[in-house]
């Protein structure tokens, strides 16, 4: 096995026993990037020199006897998280040459833990999309079939992990952006509870749902990364203090526990409608059976407002985007129009040239839904239906402890297949927006493969949605799904 193919746990053992060095693993990852990324295009920036320095520093710490879960482990970082001294583009022309002056809190935490950043991964511009085709620098291809998308918006991170360019990746999820590409690329992706991980240094998209989380090769690895980046941060006022865990959760996550006795798993019937691809239903039900064998009880539940998730999301998201992206005015940083004669013209020309089509679409949509006379009909209406969606989950969690659903209703689609139809792309998020709107933790784990239209078999994920702050429960349950 090549060193870049290791997962975190395997690398940990080799590193701690002196069987390999961080530099060797780092070199193996850099070699894999050099060999594969010309085709896959998962990376926007590779910082080989900085990575080698960081690896050598980690090796020194290891040699001195220091130990830590991520010490010496190489990773890639979605290019929407600020990294001091290394460019942060958000895959947008408007930030093409932007060098962040400081690190995002999650990046700083990983740096302190001794993880080695190899570079920055591709995404849909400003994380707007579900295929990475909206990147101003070209799409990321799915490592399982280069004619298909890797999903998005964290397509670069998911493809990089699947192609063994790194041991794990950081990503962000606003309405499915970690889970959907993880499903398409056959890897594990965790969207933590809203507020569980600091967003300081994450370029804002939809402030009321944005979260940072890991994409990894195993659920166990995702847990290791999650624990390293989670926690309250005084630089992010929405980050939450740790919450007390329930007795059931304590029992389930006990490392000694070998069963899921007492756990109730809910299958929301709105996620298993008759039109769902029977092969996907079968895969998810096979996982449900595994959990049943482990002692869990399986129950059908209902989330009646599920079908309104997409329209709510596609009002709230553009609204918050139109406000958050107003800061890109050409003045402080980024692309600027030098010809403009006055400030208004300067704004319009800089933004008109700097933003790509989907960012423009969302800025305009949000500007409209927030504008005088339309605010109540769109934005406020969406916020009230959001309340009903949250109530649905609250009701369900009175009957069950965790929900099991498909992550996406199909395998990865062809590049170009949906890029001219924004609405079709928005419908990609059908199973993933609910947890985002309600701020709940959700993990996508591999569930096998599914046949795709005019192609072979592509990876497929299943999603576990937990009650707020119960990430540990999701990790534990995932152990039974391998």
């Amino acid at each position: 096995m090549n060193l870049n193919e290791l997962n975190i746990k395997q690398a940990r053992e080799l590193l701690d026993n002196g069987k390999t060095t961080s530099l060797e693993i780092t070199e193996a990852c850099l070699a894999q990037i050099a060999a594969q990324d010309g085709q896959i295009h998962a990376c926007l920036t590779v910082c080989a020199a900085e990575a080698r320095e960081a690896a050598k520093a980690a090796d020194k710490r290891l040699k001195a006897g220091e130990r830590g879960p991520l010490l010496g482990v190489p990773y890639l970082c979605k290019d929407i998280l600020m990294t001091k001294g290394i460019r942060t583009t958000a895959a947008s022309k408007i930030l093409e040459n932007y060098i962040a002056p400081y690190d995002a809190t999650v990046v700083r935490k990983l740096k302190e833990a001794g993880a080695v950043m190899l570079g920055k991964t591709n995404l849909d511009e400003f994380a707007h999309g579900a295929s990475t085709e909206n990147s101003a620098f070209g799409p990321t291809k799915n490592p399982y079939d280069l004619t298909r998308v890797a999903g998005g918006s964290s397509g670069g991170s998911a493809a990089a992990v699947a192609a063994n360019m790194c041991l794990f990746a950081l990503a962000s999820d606003t309405g499915g952006s970690i889970r959907q590409p993880s499903s398409f690329c056959g890897v594990v992706g965790l969207k933590p509870s809203y507020g569980r991980v600091s967003r300081f240094g994450l370029l804002s998209m939809t402030s009321s749902t944005d979260v940072v989380g890991p994409i990894a090769k195993t659920a166990e690895d995702a847990e290791i990364v999650f624990k390293a980046i989670a926690g309250q941060d005084e630089l992010d006022a929405t980050s939450a203090p740790e919450k007390i865990i329930s007795d059931l959760q304590k029992k389930i996550i006990d490392p000694q526990a070998k069963t899921l006795n007492g756990l109730r798993i809910g299958l929301p019937k709105e996620y298993f409608l008759p039109e769902l691809n029977p092969e996907i239903r079968e895969r998810v039900m096979a996982l449900a059976d595994k959990l049943k064998e482990a002692g869990a009880q399986i129950k059908e539940v209902s989330l009646p407002y599920t079908k309104y998730g997409i329209p709510v999301y596609y009002i709230i998201t553009p609204s918050e985007i139109s406000s958050n992206l107003a800061r890109f005015d050409g003045i402080g940083w980024g692309l600027k129009d030098e010809e403009a004669q006055n400030l208004q013209e300067f704004y319009k020309k800089s933004r008109g040239a700097g933003f790509g089509p989907e960012a423009k679409r969302r800025i305009m949509l949000g500007t409209y839904t927030l504008s005088a006379g339309y605010y109540d009909a769109y934005y406020k209406k969406a916020q009230t239906v959001r309340t009903l969606i949250i109530n649905d989950f609250n009701q369900a969690f009175k009957q069950v402890d965790v929900l099991l659903t498909p992550t996406v209703p199909h395998g990865a689609f062809k590049i170009g297949e949906k890029s001219n139809d924004p609405l079709a792309m928005y419908l990609e998020d059908i199973f993933v927006t609910g947890a985002s709107l309600a701020g709940l933790p959700a993990i996508s784990v591999p569930a096998g493969t599914v046949k795709v239209k005019d192609g072979g078999d592509m990876p497929l994920g299943a999603q576990l949605i937990g009650a707020r702050f119960q990430e540990e429960m999701l990790f534990k349950i995932s152990e039974f799904l391998v």
């Binding site: 329209p311 003045i331 402080g332 403009a340 400030l343 300067f346 800025i363 305009m364 709107l437 701020g439």
Partner: protein
């Protein structure tokens, strides 16, 4: 729902986006069909429902109003990476 050319131009103006005639036409159609789709929310009765603006579970997050030191270079670069003069950011002429 069809947006008129004037409406899309007004939205672009409010959004501070320079659009070509081609873009105007494209976004006019696309925004129209997205707005049609989200209109589905009208069928939900929400008279007595309180809107949700955030789900952090937190309220009134305060801290002491004290200045904490931050690396000067990082602070200035955060303000602007463009031309600066005596700690001020240089911009284009506002008034003609």
């Amino acid at each position: 729902m069809q947006l008129t050319k004037e409406e899309i131009q007004h939205i672009a103006e409010l959004s501070r986006l320079n659009l070509s005639a081609e873009e105007e036409e494209k976004y006019r159609n696309q925004l129209g069909s997205i707005l049609d789709y989200v209109k589905m929310l009208d069928e939900v009765k929400t008279d007595k429902v309180i809107p949700t603006a955030q789900v952090s579970g937190l309220m009134d997050v305060f801290r002491d109003d004290e200045v904490k030191p931050w690396n000067q270079e990082e602070a200035e670069a955060s303000l602007s990476q463009s031309e600066r003069e005596n700690g001020n950011v240089k911009v284009k002429r506002v008034l003609q």
